[in-house]
Symmetry: C2
């Protein structure tokens, strides 16, 4: 394996890039006092911002607000909260967003358009706006260079582990850092799966290129993970770039842009992988690679069908190399296919070669599926289209978590 | 409720229509000697036939054979088997189909084109053609007017209950009967879910109209049930009509045709419902009705998204009226939607009215979801498009059945 040109920062988080400050605390949206439920990430200087938002037709109030303000020329802060999705709760929800953003803007001495907001939690519940607003001055006061971990905690719901990372690389002699915190797509009890990711970077870049980079990075990472194929009303990825690394600003699609994009994609990939690994009831994480499809679209179609198949996912839970379920899912995806050209490998165990079972490799395949993490390769044998998905098993624990209410 | 114009026949099955004979037995495809694994249904006189076949790109050998012979002008018999899907097992599988169909044609003194064949079971396993062929003379010899139940048993896999039905109605003074046997879409251990349904009728009808009727009937029934959203390599619905009822032959789309189609659809609906009820680990059966969509296509899109959502299905398992999961699934389907016009009812409990939660109805909704069978209504509030799906809950038992191998 080639050594990457970026470096993983120890305890890296959103405050690792220069000039970012963060805080997080409990304000009372969640009942348990030891659980954080609000986060703030802010930059000392103005940033350009970009984001991707859920395409669900039902959108939470914070999504509607941030989709509007993301077009502003500059931004200063991301306000996050957990425990209440602020969705389908009527005009109260809209007002909650507006009042709290206004309060934060006043505290930071910026305009409300410079604030982005993301929330996650229960749908259809009135938002406790008073508690939330009361927390804002405290969040601002507590902003600090080591507040990244607390900001990560403030957006967690059923996540078992904190998700944060920072990677650094050089553009010329300037060290660029990209940091992130995220909450998982494991379902938010009791309503739904929300995926949030806040990314900060000190790179100097134009807004259009930042937007281009984040779209590309999310397409290949967050949009290609499959836990339960449900799309949340609150999903959001937000990215702030403040230029404090003082590099030559990235203004066109050149080598610098490509390096930045590659590291950004790696940050997103790490966060997406952590989310799948931390998904509810997950005991196996599978990187599913489809290649040899007629084109990339067909590869993605096949990968999505396999990754979201309940038969496939229960098979992973049982560490059982039932390759027939993979073949059937590929067929069900409707892509161009000759079953006689199909190859399926579990890790290094080639179980199907040119459409025929290699029985002797089944025991090895079974051993590989017993590992916590592995790769499954499906080769279509039609062309050069490739796609990759990160997916997990479907366990009885997932069902138990998601069918109980109390 | 209006009394239907058809009558349900006691112990009705494929041999209830005049002139049909059936048999079923153990031949050795399955290991356990008390398990039937072959079925034969034959008519004393030539039939017109129609069928619908899996659209999976990977198709089992019997599917490829029957898709070809279904175009023949007349048919005499349907040969079925279980325990081996006869799929992705190389030229041996093709030969197995050809040899056994040839043998059956010889025994019945008809041409091989007059035979239809359907199989279900494990993928990728060599087919035990000798045992299968040896059973054929016995199956022919045992054909009888009360062999319907044995034919139903010969195609069962993980089904817990036998699925058969017959409905009768009058066209003029002639009594018409439609009978059916089926095997469920609950997954075939250990490889996949296959749905088979063999239908017989003594109506006199032209082949093009028979084809039209079966397509219409399957679209509204088998294609609208959702257990695990996986499509088998072997799915098949076959229909034989021998004209023995001596009615005025149905030759155009008139009142007689519509009555026949309606009863045929009812037969398919009963079989589909039985399949869902008998799905692996199923404890609740939900009839999901979406109405008020912009058009029928959008209604179906929303219904499919809800019915196949793992979050929705685990919610049913827990008898928990988490309406937010339904709203999110409707949104994720991408249909035209104003969340403020959405209505959701669990049975008679209206939980969401015009996008707002009616908290007081939640306890009633919870009681309704504890029943074994109920209806959930989702009203979009955009137009007159309707769709209906039969779906089931996702239980820990489903996961256990489908993740274990031994």
């Amino acid at each position: 394996m080639v050594k990457p040109f970026w470096e993983k920062r120890r305890r890296g988080t959103v405050t690792t890039p220069i000039g970012f400050y963060a805080s997080g605390m409990h304000c009372g949206i969640k009942k348990k006092k030891h659980k954080y439920d609000v986060s703030l990430i802010a930059s000392g200087t103005p940033c350009v911002a970009a984001g991707t938002f859920t395409v669900n037709r039902v959108k939470a109030w914070p999504v509607l607000y941030s989709m509007k303000t993301i077009h502003a020329p500059k931004h200063r802060a991301i306000l996050g909260s957990s425990g209440n999705a602020n969705c389908m709760n009527g005009p109260n929800g809209k007002q909650a967003v507006e009042e709290s953003v206004y309060e934060l803007a006043r505290q930071l001495n910026v305009t409300p358009e410079e604030i982005l907001i993301a929330q996650t939690g229960l749908i259809g519940v009135p938002f406790p706006v008073t508690r939330f607003k009361r927390a804002i001055p405290k969040l601002v006061k507590r902003l600090s260079e080591d507040g990244g971990l607390r900001a990560a905690k403030g957006i967690m719901t059923t996540d078992l582990s904190v998700k944060q990372v920072a990677l650094s690389f050089f553009l010329g002699d300037k060290k660029i850092t990209i940091g992130a915190v995220a909450k998982g797509a494991g379902m938010v009890h009791p309503n739904m799966a929300t995926m949030l990711c806040f990314i900060t970077t000190d790179v100097a870049i134009t807004k259009p290129l930042l937007r281009r980079a984040i779209r590309h990075a999310t397409d290949d990472t967050f949009n290609q993970m499959a836990i339960d194929n449900d799309m949340s009303t609150n999903d959001m990825v937000l990215l702030l770039a403040n230029g404090e690394a003082k590099n030559n600003p990235i203004q066109k699609i050149d080598k610098d842009y490509r390096m930045f994009r590659e590291v950004l994609e790696e940050v997103c990939r790490i966060m997406a992988y952590e989310m799948v690994r931390d998904g509810e009831g997950v005991t196996h994480v599978c990187t599913l690679r489809v290649s040899g499809a007629k084109n990339p679209t067909e590869a993605e179609k096949a990968a999505r069908q396999i990754a979201n198949s309940m038969l496939f996912k229960t098979m992973l839970a049982g560490a059982d190399p039932n390759w027939g379920r993979i073949a059937a899912a590929v067929g069900a995806s409707g892509i161009t296919l000759n079953p006689d050209h199909l190859n399926i490998s579990f890790g290094s165990a080639a179980v199907v070669s040119h459409g025929r079972l290699r029985v002797l490799n089944l025991p090895k395949a079974r051993r590989i599926l017993q590992r916590k993490e592995y790769t499954i390769d499906v080769v279509i044998g039609k062309g050069r289209g490739r796609a990759q998905f990160v997916t997990s098993d479907l366990t009885t624990k997932y069902v138990l978590i998601n069918s109980s209410y109390s």
